[in-house]
Symmetry: C2
Subunit: 241 residues, 2 copies
DNA sequence: TTTCAATATTAGCCATACCTAAATATTACT
DNA sequence: AGTAATATTTAGGTATGGCTAATATTGAAA
């Protein structure tokens, strides 16, 4: 006589539930978007784990959930990484749009200092409504760039394809315009601001000191020379023209 | 030989964890603040349950957690209701301040219609920083009232002691100024707006139709008469002068 | 082609945060 | 003192999102 327990079903914990729509999900989608770059490539779970400071196992688990959504948020091939599915990309771009609009708004309308906008935007980006988004965009005149020089995705998700060069690519004597700086390190932003380095400013690499130690840089047309460490330079992107 | 399992400890689920600081907590604190009125009185768990549309059991559970916090957020006497402890009151007033500042901001700076501000504020109130709060307050010139006429708590938590009369207290022929209207029902707010009824407007009760059916009301100095149902009238508070 | 290190996935579990229904207890009246 | 209304406890559920350890896969070097 077959026990009723036979089929037990002892559902494992993985892929146990279904469709989240949370901050965590937003963060995964953003991470995948940012890591997959242009042109788009598969992102490994390890990279995501590293980026979000969690274990790879947690990532695999979440990726399976995201792929199982209807509609799916990511395309996930076991052992071969993920990329964003249409809905996931839409959401990622929406969040990034929120983030950058909020940063711009905080800076321009609420007079936040440059280095404080990121933290606030990072929280609020998940919670504002479509209406809020639309209203601040209108208020700001539908800006194309945030205070750090990052392009703001349009409502339809389109982003001007940027070709940001790492500043470190420059050779001594070469000049370039700052297009953007990383937005997530307040201390660095304060330092750059103090040196007069911000999007739009022209930089000339004066000399690169030995052993990758640091870079001496002329800011704008002034005679001011800024000394930038290797790690600082990583945060600066330029267009050469 | 005493089994090691002896003490079993089979911890029940109640009061199992400790210190949350979430939206749910905010909502409990707000509910208690609102229900406890002026002068302050104990609030029964049943009332809270009703207000938040959850079961009394859930309320008891949460109240125990809130009382066990360090510092305690509520003073809770079994079977005798709760009131807010100092820290809880501080938080409740902070949230209410957030809510009302955000409503005012949405209305005045972002041109939200009257009836849409509540929903957005209800979400954002939990997530804005001190700095955000301070900046919108400054931008608005430190307003004392939100768009529905509710007083905005000051930074120190002080609230002008309001003595809002229920409109329904008026007798036919009496006049009074609208001090505030409830903010949580968009449809009602649109109706009131269409009738020209908003904080600051003077109303005269023209006649009260039988069987508590409805109220005929003169709005301002116009000859306009508005017909208000019993339930609508519940949402209007006035000062008689 | 085999082997092996790097990487990814599975299985099982843990914790937090909320909530519920049903059983039980307390209070405050009559 | 009995009882109806209220409140609390008990036991357990659901959902999210994390972790470790064991295991499996992949791809490149030998």
């Amino acid at each position: 006589m077959a026990k009723l327990l036979a089929k037990q079903k002892r559902m494992t914990d993985a892929v146990r539930t279904q469709a989240p729509a949370s901050e965590a999900v937003d963060d995964y989608l953003k991470a995948i978007f940012q890591l997959s770059g242009h042109p788009e490539r598969q992102v490994a779970s390890n990279e995501i784990a590293l980026h979000l400071s969690i274990t790879p196992a947690s990532v695999t688990n979440m990726l399976q959930k995201l792929a199982a959504q209807e509609p799916p948020l990511v395309i996930y091939k076991k052992h071969h990484g993920v990329k964003l599915a249409k809905a996931g990309k839409r959401r990622a771009l929406e969040i990034i749009r929120h983030h950058r609009l909020i940063e711009t708004f905080l800076h321009q309308v609420l007079d936040y200092p440059w280095d404080e906008v990121h933290q606030e935007a990072e929280r609020l980006e998940h919670f504002i409504s479509e209406r809020f988004e639309e209203r601040i965009a209108a208020k700001l005149g539908h800006p194309k760039f945030d205070p750090h020089g990052h392009a703001i995705p349009a409502l339809d998700g389109s982003l001007p394809s940027q070709e940001p060069q790492a500043f470190a690519m420059l050779r001594p004597g070469q000049s370039a315009n700052v297009s953007s700086v990383s937005d997530n390190d307040p201390e660095m932003l304060r330092y750059l601001a103090a040196q007069g380095i911000r999007p739009g400013v022209r930089l000339t690499l004066s000399e690169q000191l030995p052993f990758q130690g640091s870079y001496r840089v002329r800011v704008g047309t002034s005679s001011k020379l800024a000394l930038l460490s290797h790690s600082l330079v990583q945060s600066i992107f330029v267009t050469i023209k």
